[in-house]
């Protein structure tokens, strides 16, 4: 009698396992974290990171990489902290324009066959510049509704956990179940065959980029809802965090092999790794280094599991 696992669920196993192990370690070090407030504090900042990771995952689905994710989320945060509370219409218009800009970017990258890494690298200057123009000094205020949503306290389970589950379920349906999701994963897997099947690759790429921008916008608003003010550099580290989150969650750089649930778990793991290290009382000098080490250990585990999986198949 053996459980029959599909390859996709095996891919999810390692991220889920590492998250559990890390969570247990945190609970062991700091039993007080095992409460409603404790969990809320642990995962509070995970919501914007999760959303940014999902956005990065959508771009990676079509075999591209977005190096401007951090600056874009910072830009959105600046817009959300300045225009959204006072002139919601102008703010919404700016954010819609930004989403449209992403769609255009996706189309241009496809039509001109440009390397996405470089184009988004250039865009990171543009978003960074716009953020500085909108908010030259740290400040602003969060829209009341975003603040209410992010600090709300649903019964039994903290907001951050509820939000993560909702994000995971929604994106799972979009990417794994809808025809649009199949289409963009197909573009990542084999562009030519999707094109021959009569689909518009331009529309698929543009759509994937626009959807990614939409999630990045949500990330920026969620971030401002948590921090109540913004700064042009507030989310710069999201670029690398989001890429690492997707990879930790079992995604691949090419081939359209991604997992939304895995990406959410990967983002949570990265957030938790930070808290874990501060509980360990590691000297601040080595905090970043230890984060790198955790990343490496998790990926080594994944390699081990892939090996085992292959051996099973070989039998």
């Amino acid at each position: 009698m053996k459980l029959n696992l599909s390859t996709d669920s095996v891919r999810l196993l390692i991220p889920a396992l590492s998250l559990t192990v890390l969570l247990c370690a945190v609970f062991y070090l700091q039993p007080r974290a095992m409460s409603y407030t404790g969990l809320n504090l642990l995962f509070n900042l995970a919501v914007p990171i999760t959303l940014a990771t999902i956005a990065q995952m959508l771009i990676m689905t079509v075999n591209d990489l977005d190096l401007s994710m951090g600056t874009f989320v910072s830009f959105v945060a600046c817009v959300a902290a300045t225009f959204l509370p006072t002139d919601p219409l102008i703010g919404a218009a700016i954010l819609l324009a930004a989403i449209a800009a992403y769609a255009v970017l996706g189309i241009v990258i496809h039509v001109r066959e440009l390397p996405s890494i470089v184009v988004t690298l250039g865009m990171s200057f543009v978003w960074g510049g716009l953020a500085v123009l909108i908010l030259p000094a740290p400040g602003g205020q969060a829209p009341v509704w975003a603040r209410l949503l992010m600090t709300s306290k649903p019964p039994l389970v903290p907001m951050a956990i509820v939000a993560s589950i909702v994000i995971a379920v929604v994106t799972h349906f979009i990417v794994m179940r809808s025809s649009f999701g199949v289409l963009i994963r197909g573009v990542g897997g084999n562009t030519r065959s999707v094109e021959r099947a009569g689909w518009s690759i331009i529309a698929a790429r543009g759509g994937a980029y626009a959807l990614a921008a939409f999630f990045a916008v949500l990330a920026g608003i969620a971030l401002v809802g948590l921090t109540t003010s913004a700064d042009a550099n507030i989310a710069l580290r999201y670029t690398l965090l989001s890429i690492a989150g997707v990879i930790l969650g079992g995604g691949e750089f090419v081939g359209g092999r991604v997992s939304p649930v895995g990406a959410v778990i990967g983002a949570l793991t990265l957030t938790l790794a930070g808290s874990f290290l501060s509980f360990l009382r590691i000297s601040p000098d080595w905090q970043i280094g230890a984060q790198g080490a955790i990343l490496i250990i998790v990926l080594a585990l994944r390699l081990l599991l892939n090996r085992l999986e292959k051996r099973e198949k070989g039998r």
């Binding site: 390397p115 890494i117 690298l121 990171s124 750089f253 970043i288 280094g289």
Partner: protein
């Protein structure tokens, strides 16, 4: 006419053309008063991006997905450690250089060990490595700013017949890189691997050895650049490498090296490095604010890639 057509077909010509235009516009704006000063400053600052850019170019040539994100951390670590070791003593300049190179070799080997043994994509392997290296730098640095030895500081900040010494160093390294890439077996191997790893393996190329050597080379060049930059700016700072991450990738790609690998070019890196510095100083002379300057830099980078990228498609 024929010569002109040949010139237009070179992928690096676009970055040089753009550099010339930006240089001319800036000089026109200042009324020609600062031509020499501007050129000298451009050569000095471009030299640092050229040195890291060459290393990054070798890595990118290895093929899709190959990239070294540990460059900024490496620069910081080597600058910090070397200056601490030299401790303003002129006699320690060469040992300091040696330690910087050794650190580069160690980090390069570490990078490739992660990539090979753990089968992690290079972007994540070098990212994790850079976290560890950055931690080591923080641990050695402790916020103390040690001055470079006087002789070394003089060397990096002065010039030889009007040409900054660091630019001469960058030029020598570029020539070596060009010979390595175009004339040596090693260069041919890198290009072959970048075009197709399975094919390279079939042809009997020692794929792992070449890739290891390339990651080591990139780390050593970044380390060298950190050593020079720390001496040039009068001490190592923990964030001294940060802007060189994007810079090293941007100069390679704007310079006309194929991002998909297998095709590299050294002159383009010079064009792109000079161009990027001149764009920033041109926007500075117009007295624009930081926000507008960043936006313009981004738009200009994308515009150049769109012009240059379109030409490349015909050849592929």
């Amino acid at each position: 006419m024929n010569a002109l057509r040949l010139l237009v077909q070179k992928p690096w010509i676009w970055s040089f053309a753009a550099t010339a235009i930006v240089w001319f516009i800036t000089i026109m704006f200042t009324g020609g008063a600062s031509a020499a000063g501007l050129s000298q400053a451009a050569l000095t600052f471009a030299a640092f991006s050229i040195i890291v850019g060459i290393g990054q170019m070798f890595v990118i040539t290895l093929g899709p997905g190959n990239i070294d994100l540990s460059v900024p951390a490496m620069m910081t670590l080597s600058g910090t450690v070397a200056l601490k070791l030299m401790g303003v003593d002129n006699a320690m300049i060469l040992p300091g250089l040696g330690v910087a190179v050794l650190l580069g070799v160690a980090v390069g080997i570490g990078n490739y060990a992660f990539i090979k043994l753990l089968r992690i994509p290079p972007i994540i392997a070098t990212l994790s490595m850079s976290f560890i290296v950055q931690s080591m730098a923080i641990w050695t640095n402790r916020g103390i700013r040690i001055k470079p030895p006087a002789l070394l500081a003089d060397f990096t900040t002065s010039s030889f017949f009007g040409i900054p010494n660091v630019a001469i160093v960058a030029f020598v390294l570029s020539v070596i890189a060009w010979v390595l890439l175009q004339k040596s077996v090693y260069g041919r191997w890198i290009s072959a691997i970048g075009q197709s790893i399975p094919a390279a393996r079939m042809a009997g190329i020692p794929v792992d050895g070449v890739r290891l050597a390339t990651y080591v080379l990139c780390a050593v060049l970044a380390s060298l650049c950190g050593y020079l930059l720390a001496s040039f700016s009068g001490g190592a700072a923990l964030n001294m490498g940060s802007e060189y991450l994007l810079m090293s990738i941007a100069v390679v790609v704007i310079g006309g090296t194929a991002v998909a690998g297998g095709d590299s070019n050294v002159p383009g890196i010079w064009g792109a490095s000079l161009f990027l510095f001149l764009v920033v100083s041109m926007l500075n002379t117009y007295g624009l604010g930081a926000g507008i300057r960043l936006v313009m830099t981004g738009i200009i980078i994308i515009a150049v890639i769109m012009v240059a990228g379109g030409r490349k498609r015909g050849r592929a």
